[in-house]
Amino acid sequence: MKFIDEYRDFEIVQNISKKLRKYNDREISLMEVCGGHTMAIHRFGISSLLPENIKLISGPGCPVCVSGIGFIDSAIECSKIKDVIIATYGDLVRVPGSKSSLEEEKSKGADIRIVYSSLEALKIAKSNKNKKVVFLGIGFETTAPGSAVAIQIAYKENISNFYLLSAHKIMPPVMEALLNDRVKLDGFICPGHVSTITGSNIYNFIPKKYKIACVVTGFEPTDLMQSIFMLAKQINTKDQKVEIQYSRTVTKQGNLKAQEIMNEVFEAQNDLWRGIGEIPKSGLKLKGKYKNFDAEKVFNLRIVFKNENPNCICGDILRGLKKPTECKLFSKVCSPENPIGACMVSSEGACHAYYKYYSYE
């Protein structure tokens, strides 16, 4: 397929794989912080093409996984309010809250609809004037501008039955939190889609302050292999900096228009990360101007931190300290059919990816 096969070229990948062998004098740990990268790595068997000393760790890159149980509980609580329609991205419906999931509530009669964009949710609100449509805003800088646009339109067009329950998060604070948490790490495979919006400058503090290599990476096998090579080279030559491998969409400044919309609608707040805890200024909430669209305020919901199953090691997995296979629950009690921890729920969660494409390592 044109524009796909070029990026999955056998020769190129094998060539990089061979070249990587020269960086074999030390252990190199690289973390991907985007669920899309986790999936691509497993789907194409990238790890099987790396020399033994280069290890890939899956970080907190799946927005569904890092949203706390409390968020799901609030969404469920919201779905029980009379005349409420919950509009959500599909991945979220199976995420277990403390007692149930949205999927379970749907089977009990709650009106929960899967949408593919925030504007689709807005459409539902427009065509159901006597209902209240709550859109579950989830995701990083990639999806936050989409939610912001929907809110701006709702504001402009005076649509009074559309609300956002925001679990939007931003990437740099969690990366910094990981580095402060003494996670053993040499480089970040920086997210491609997030960076398309934000630009690569948001990572500048990482090499500067922490001496950690950063390469903004695309999602195809040649992208990943090239990035891993660039990271290994930076680390080997002790020349840690921010580089853009995914230059066909990512610039240093990013998408200024999207950033402007995001900043106009949202402001940063302290936020809870499943398995990690509270991280200052890592979440996005609606600004005062838009408070009438804020489901949390309008429906008086309180998103609280709740404890996970004590045997679940999602937190350690998200921090790159452990692998899914080191969890007692993995594939025995916890599977995509019956997810205990959030990393198993979304197809981009590290545990799910391991379960599905468990590769030779």
């Binding site: 056998f10 093409l49 599909g90 991945d91 199976r94 593919y116 599977s335 030779y360």
Partner: protein, 336 residues
């Protein structure tokens, strides 16, 4: 006769009889028969294949088929991959009150057409009508009987599968899933792909008649190729190795999978069969399959290996290796 199905049509009285006679009996070609409680069949063989399946697809009409075609093909294919020659099927309908009679007619005509293609008879049936909202438009159950011209009981058990056997599939994977997804129109995507829904009995019978060392057959339906192969690997306690580059998937299907985050190896099919054959007979199987319109894109996609028992390993396009597992839950579109 009214334009819509009413509860009266399921009452067992005059309206029921009229419906059965006008909509079902005539097209099914049994108009000389007295309506009795059972069909009486002549089956001389002492071993038969017997299967049943229910169809609840939404939407009921989709590019390349409809629920009626699916209901006949599904059961025919279950019989065929067991090595049997399908002979008779029954059809039961659960219909929601208010269902358009014209749609019912279309569905029945489509079933008749497939029955002719597959050279089988629809010999018994039942109709129930339920209150509005108690079922989604129409559900169909079909049950089928097939006879064996040869003893093929090993074909579904995997007992004859050996190391070095080749794995073959008869064409493009994932068309059905994508066609149905497109017809649901939830994503404003215009999809021109047709479902692969088809009766495979002729294709499979031609293979069986050729006296080749076929070891195993299974239709590749829900759960997709990866799920069928994982099941096989577990049954035979041997490894399966796939050459992903040889797996036939349409470019358009691949493209949509890229957009939606699906893996084509997990998409549903309704006209695909997985065949495991002795390595020396693999090319002959391809030749025979290629003679049938339903087998033009047949490919050898992998083999049975002694390494990694019970595990399916895919050799990826870039030369990497990954393990394939069974489908868990529905494939949901990813969010970023």
């Amino acid at each position: 006769m009214s334009d819509f199905i009413t509860l009266n049509h399921g009452s067992g009285g005059r309206a029921s009889l009229d419906l059965i006679k006008s909509i079902f009996i005539k097209p099914f070609g049994n108009n000389n028969t007295v309506l009795s409680d059972s069909a009486i069949l002549n089956i001389p063989e002492d071993r038969i294949a017997f299967t049943t399946d229910s169809f609840v697809i939404d939407p009921i009409f989709f590019p390349g088929g409809d629920i009626g075609k699916l209901a006949v093909c599904g059961t025919i294919n279950d019989l065929s991959v067991s090595g049997a020659v399908p002979k008779f099927i029954t059809a039961s309908f659960i219909i929601e009150e208010g269902f358009p009679v014209n749609d019912l007619k279309k569905i029945v005509i489509s079933m008749v057409k497939q029955a002719k293609v597959a050279n089988i008879k629809i010999v018994a049936g039942d109709t129930k009508v339920v209150h509005k909202g108690k079922c989604d438009k129409i559900f169909i159950n079909t049950t089928g009987i097939g006879v064996f011209e040869k003893d093929y009981s090993f074909i579904s058990t995997g007992e004859k599968v050996e190391v070095n056997d080749k794995i073959i599939v008869n064409g493009f994977l994932g068309d059905h899933s994508i066609a149905v997804l497109g017809a649901r129109n939830e994503m404003d995507l215009k999809v021109s792909i047709l479902s692969d829904c088809a009766c495979l009995n002729e294709l499979i019978q031609n293979l069986i008649k050729a006296n080749l060392r076929i070891r195993f057959m299974r239709d590749v339906t829900r759960g997709g190729l990866a799920t069928v192969l994982t099941e096989l690997a577990e049954i035979i306690k041997l490894g399966v190795e796939l050459d992903e580059i040889n797996i036939p998937v349409r470019e358009s299907v691949n493209g949509l999978c890229e957009i939606l985050g699906f893996d084509p190896l997990y998409l549903a099919n309704e006209g695909k069969v997985l065949i495991v054959v002795h390595c020396e007979d693999a090319d002959k199987v391809i030749k025979i399959l290629n003679k049938n319109p339903l087998g033009l894109e047949s490919k050898i996609i992998g083999e049975i290996v002694s390494e990694h028992p019970k595990i399916v390993v895919g050799k990826t396009q870039i030369g990497g290796k990954r393990i394939l597992n069974m489908l868990q839950g529905e494939q949901l579109p990813r969010i970023c």
